[in-house]
């Protein structure tokens, strides 16, 4: 899907931040708590997985994604996964937050959990792919010009563009199906090299971009 998370090449964000040498890992204590809660939520508590977490991040609206920064969006995506698995009722977190402030609120009942009947075949995401890779170093490939309804790791800014295969990476499970508990579908992953002018037009700054693309995102280009 084409949510707010797919930011490559988009305009309107202003200047980049200038790096600070001694920035703390967590700017405020709640950020560390949100980080740890999200890590525990991803697999153990929600019964989902890292790709489902990334998809939850993609599904956040602009406010939920941006307004409380990186760990704010982690918190919101963790909550979304917990509601998806019926570990929490919708609105349960806000209701508890109001109650903690001493306000009179009725908290929703704890629902009957409904975790996906699905588990990964092993740890991590590297998988053996029995078939030989479809493309080799130097092959010209085109990224599909598609806009899938569900999860994808094919960013908008490379769709429809032609690049060359730079590296054949080890096989990975496919996030597009794993995020939806529809199987791992391991595939070869290719590091594809694009010329900036292919992506952004003749007036673009000259540079090279590489990106990892799954086999099913690609077709041969002449």
């Amino acid at each position: 899907m084409d949510g707010i998370a797919d930011m490559g090449g988009t305009d309107g964000w202003g200047a980049v931040m200038v790096p600070a040498r001694d920035e703390p890992v967590f700017a405020e204590p709640w950020e560390g708590r949100a980080f740890a809660l999200a890590l525990l939520t991803i697999g153990r508590v929600s019964g989902r997985n890292l790709d489902a977490f990334r998809h939850a991040l993609q599904r956040l609206d602009r406010t939920a994604y941006l307004d409380d920064g990186y760990y704010g969006r982690w918190l919101n995506a963790a909550e979304l996964m917990l509601v998806d698995s019926a570990i929490l009722a919708p609105g349960a977190v806000d209701a508890r937050a109001h109650a903690m402030r001493g306000e009179q609120v009725e908290e929703p009942a704890v629902p009957e959990p409904s975790k996906p009947d699905y588990s990964a075949t092993g740890p991590g995401s590297l998988r053996e792919v029995p078939e030989p890779p479809r493309f080799a170093h130097g092959d010209r490939v085109r990224a599909h010009d598609i806009s899938p309804a569900g999860h994808t790791r094919l960013p908008r800014y490379v769709r429809g563009h032609v690049g060359t295969v730079e590296l054949v990476q080890p096989g990975h499970l496919l996030p597009d199906t794993h995020a939806h508990f529809q199987g791992e579908n391991p595939q070869h992953v290719f590091t594809v090299r694009f010329d900036s002018r292919e992506l952004w037009g003749a007036e673009a700054e000259p540079f090279v971009l590489t990106i990892e693309l799954f086999d099913s995102y690609l077709e041969p280009a002449s």
């Binding site: 930011m7 700017a27 525990l40 760990y71 704010g72 806000d94």
Partner: protein, 196 residues
């Protein structure tokens, strides 16, 4: 999630979520404390600096690092989440590598720790794949026109680590003396390492 009509502070919502899960025994606050302490104290860019200092002083190690980053990094004891497959790219006088994750903020945690705010900021994610020379200049790194810039967008599970150039004037320094010169920003590719 809070609606825009009535936004609760994330600190309060985090506390509420932690309370909801702990009271049902679904998370253990002590386990959370352990995760936080690990990334505050152990897993950070010092690990990446040690890898680079070793590569600068041991040519055989450097060969292994460029051939199989994950294995060579493991030799120094570093691995774990977001480090399943690390690929190391070497900066040269005429080629400068810089890394990003436009879709989220993927980052090689075992060697760099958790990402800094500028890396997670929309402006960096959006712009470094479109006008890297301008972005690097805004961040304080001006590259000559004949330097080729290669931007690596980590869209899958490959995590990129930049092996910066060893600065002139450091030939006499030992591996241990080199480590503190090597910054996180140089390991992502938005800065160079400078001699003391």
């Amino acid at each position: 999630m809070s609606t825009s009509a009535e936004r609760l502070p994330p600190s309060l919502r985090t506390e509420a979520l932690e309370q909801l899960l702990t009271e049902r025994g679904l998370v253990d606050p002590a386990v959370m404390d352990g995760f936080i302490a690990n990334y505050e104290e152990n897993v950070g860019p010092l690990n990446g600096a040690k890898v680079v200092a070793r590569a600068w002083t041991d040519p055989e190690y450097k060969k292994r690092l460029l051939a199989d980053g994950t294995a060579a990094i493991k030799e120094l004891g570093f691995g774990g989440p977001q480090g399943e497959h690390i690929v190391v790219v070497e900066n040269r006088p005429t080629r400068h590598n810089v890394t990003v994750c436009t879709l989220c903020s993927c980052y090689p945690w075992p060697v760099l720790g958790l990402p800094p705010s500028w890396y997670k900021d929309p402006a960096y994610r959006a712009r470094v794949v479109r006008e890297p020379r301008v972005v690097l200049s805004e961040m304080g790194l001006d590259l000559a026109d004949d330097v080729e810039i290669v931007v690596h967008d980590s869209s899958a599970e490959v995590r990129w680590l930049v092996l910066p150039e060893r600065p002139a004037g450091t030939e006499q320094l030992s591996e241990e003396e080199l480590v503190p010169l090597i910054t996180r920003d140089a390991l992502v590719g938005v800065a160079k390492v400078v001699a003391p």
